[in-house]
Symmetry: C2
């Protein structure tokens, strides 16, 4: 923008005028393109705009249609105002604002009438003073409550409307004689406006915040999966060129290609900053009634918990990603030691996340994820065993350090992914996701479950070198009871309270 | 909460009633405590609440004071409404909302009057139909523009008020005869309300969004510095116990102490999620006039750029932090190799960030940061040299991998910190921070500057082991011109446009 105007400055006034029509055409073309893009990215935006128009036109009937106008008169204005300020993109946000507005108006109206009565006891002189003091105190106190995070999140608009209505009633009531009628008209028109909003929002192509949150979490998990599997896919795609990360390569072009593969390199980046969106969607979702596959008290809070874990995994991926830009190539013999297990960690973690994402989408119990979690943990063990076994001899430390870091961060990622898997299992339990029929043969099943319930931790013998590992089985449930897991829903490992 | 109510459920109705007074007392006590905490954390919250009360009481005079009431009548209500919805925490937000409201009302009012004239051409029957269609179209189109990110960020409220005013004028104008007088009264009372807000907001203990953004960025940088220096401080504090990370230790208690040192472990975590706050503060700051040490077109956008880099550094620290919880201890001989340079990287990076933060706070040119940047880069070189020199013989890879990862991430952090330093230098140039007197003797200076302008990169001989490094000097400015840097402000390395 600034560069543009600097260039224009050089052209002089005449040149600028001459260039204007062409520029304006370009500008209009650009705007048109971005309008089209906005609409295409999410067609619900277009529908939402039309819905707002529809709701406004509906309440305009209060004016246009004589019988209605005779009933409400100028108060119909409040209905128009209500529609404009209450109508939001999602049903939850609209409901939240509408209910906040309704209840706050009711409460503040009652308090305002009370304040008028109170002040009238102080005589003609004292009345405005008392009213002024009351308005000051209530406005200040109510404004302060808006700083409480919980109130800010759910009732901010209600407190605003409370202050507004209280001030208007107690101040204008001082002059208006037919106060009660005014209050009644205002309340009923707000009710009409609010109901129109909620009706149009819920029954004309509704946008559910809960559904959006559900989809957002699933797609965030999928983005991480794409990155982890992309690492592998890129390897395969360009394997012919010998351009694999875990292979010392001299082909600079290939490394560039890998660096520039924006599709998987940058997909996960949007996950880093979705905290705000997730939280506001969860707040809106709490206002929504049951819809589609979601019941009224769907465990929205658990989505936030999953969101936190997903972001933690994204931070690790961010750190991992910055190591791929390193120019130092590890020696071939070291790569050979870690290659297989690193590939497996990455691909199995990707598979876990893929299966979690698709099970969230389909609202089915994430059965197949467990197997991949075990595989990825086995890969971590393999890596440790391989590293213990390998003596590096005289190969140089500087060269291996970058590849070692990649391996080390991948181990952390496996850990994160396991936590995400646990949280999704909890969600599945809380939201009663459908269990899939058990297709694994009974012989292999118990062993796998047993592994899932245990933790593998290398034990250090002195502080020098670990030479054995112990497997601690946390849950000593017998194989019989493990078999039953799929028959009736049992509690997950940790007790969960629905909040 | 849910646990509480579950417990209550067991008590039965009688027990619950009995427990109520005590519970209520506790609850009130809790609320009181959190009110006190909110006020203590930021006393400006209390002041803001009182300011809102003051502004509202001031506009109430429109009703209470007879000469004013005679002038405005019931339209005074709009002034009250304006104060409640426009008054925001910071001057920038209040100004933005006030200006948006004023201009949108003006524009929509004019368009509304035009729409009324247009529709009156269609006769008594056609008028409401044409008006209805116009309201529908304009509301839908304006609602759609709210999806443009740039409009959403700065003019969202204006568009809302535009829709509101247009609908109200064109709809109620159909019935109200004295339309122009109504529009005039509405506009002038909005003006009074808006001016009151802006006046109180700017002249009674003002809260400047720009100042807040400035402080936020400085404090975020400081939090990262605290972490990096905290690594070192903890080392020193408990060095007597031999509880240093870079030293193989058997003292489990010490490691626990290090793990539990919440003050430096968790300070940086808040940096991970400040993107939203930074962006809205920058948007508000753009509305603000010059204040204190900030001129009108202060480069607020540069703060966002620094913010992005600071967050990237925080992601690396997050990854680093997760490696300190690893239980594997590295072998002593490996620790000895990397200890010194790792300590130096961490402490020098911390010093860079500390000096950047304090130079931002004092709005002084970050002179001393350069030296520490060079030191930290020298430490990276030292690490590489040490690693090249060290042959590991038969020591085992698994044990060194965790410590190697810490070292490797620290190298990335040094890189991030250098980028932050560059961005702060750019800010210093753009915002004309004060230059500090040159206290370094002229003999040592040019060499140091020369180093700062070059980049050190190990060159790989084949793909096996790097055995030499080249120093590329990007800027071949002579020592004479380098000497001049402190005398007159020259442009930084890259050309900067003020946006």
């Amino acid at each position: 923008m600034e560069i543009e105007s600097a260039a224009q400055g050089k052209l002089g006034v005449f040149g600028r005028c001459k260039a204007l029509p062409g520029k304006a055409k370009d500008k209009i073309f650009d705007v048109g393109k971005s309008v089209k893009k906005l609409g295409k990215d999410d067609p619900r935006r277009v529908i939402h705009s039309l819905k707002v128009g529809l709701a406004l036109t509906l309440v305009s009937l209060l004016y246009f249609w004589r019988p209605l106008y005779d009933g409400f008169g100028m108060s119909g204005m409040w209905a128009v105002l209500t529609v404009v300020v209450v109508f939001e993109f999602s049903v939850g946000a609209t409901l939240g604002k509408g209910l906040n507005r309704g209840f706050a108006t009711l409460l503040a109206g009652a308090l305002g009438v009370g304040a008028l009565h109170l002040s009238s006891l102080f005589g003609k002189e004292g009345e405005p003073v008392v009213l002024g003091i009351l308005v000051f105190l209530l406005a200040a106190a109510a404004t302060f409550t808006r700083f409480f995070p919980k109130i800010k999140a759910r009732y901010d608009y209600g407190v605003l409307i409370f202050i507004l209505t209280f001030s208007m009633i107690s101040v204008s009531g001082y002059r208006v004689e037919e106060l009660l009628e005014m209050a009644h008209q205002r309340l009923s028109t707000i009710l009409i406006g609010g109901t129109t909003c909620i009706f149009v929002s819920m029954f004309v192509c509704p946008v559910w915040a809960g559904q959006d949150l559900h989809n957002l979490i699933a797609s965030n998990i999928e983005k991480l999966a794409n990155y982890l599997e992309g690492l592998l896919r890129t390897r395969k795609l360009i394997a012919g060129f010998g351009c694999e990360y875990f292979q010392a390569s001299e082909d600079k072009d290939c490394i560039e290609a890998l660096k520039n593969d924006k599709s998987f390199l940058n997909g996960y980046k949007s996950v880093l900053n979705t905290k705000g969106t997730e939280e506001s969607l969860a707040n809106f979702a709490k206002w929504e009634p049951g819809h589609g596959r979601f019941l009224f008290r769907h465990p929205w809070k658990q989505y936030l918990k999953i969101g936190v874990l997903v972001r933690q995994c994204a931070y690790q991926i961010e750190a991992l990603n910055s190591h791929f830009t390193s120019d130092i190539q590890a020696p071939v013999e070291f790569i050979r030691v870690i290659e297989e297990s690193c590939t497996k960690m990455s691909s199995e973690s990707g598979k876990v996340l893929k299966s979690l994402a698709s099970s969230i989408k389909a609202m089915k119990h994430p059965e197949s994820a467990n197997e991949h979690v075990e595989n990825s943990k086995a890969a971590v063990k393999d890596l440790k065993t391989a590293l213990e076994a390998a003596g590096m001899g005289d190969s140089d430390l500087l060269a291996i350090i970058s590849a070692a870091t990649v391996a080390s961060i991948l181990v952390e990622i496996v850990d994160c992914v396991e936590k995400i898997s646990e949280a999704v299992h909890e969600l599945s339990q809380m939201a009663r996701f459908k269990k899939v029929e058990n297709t694994v043969s009974p012989e292999t099943k118990p062993k796998q479950m047993l592994l899932h319930r245990g933790s593998v931790k290398p034990v250090l013998d002195g502080d020098q070198r670990p030479d054995h590992v112990t497997i601690t089985v946390l849950d000593t449930a017998s194989i019989d009871s493990l078999e039953n897991v799929n028959v009736k829903p049992q509690g997950p490992k940790k007790p969960i309270e629905e909040v």
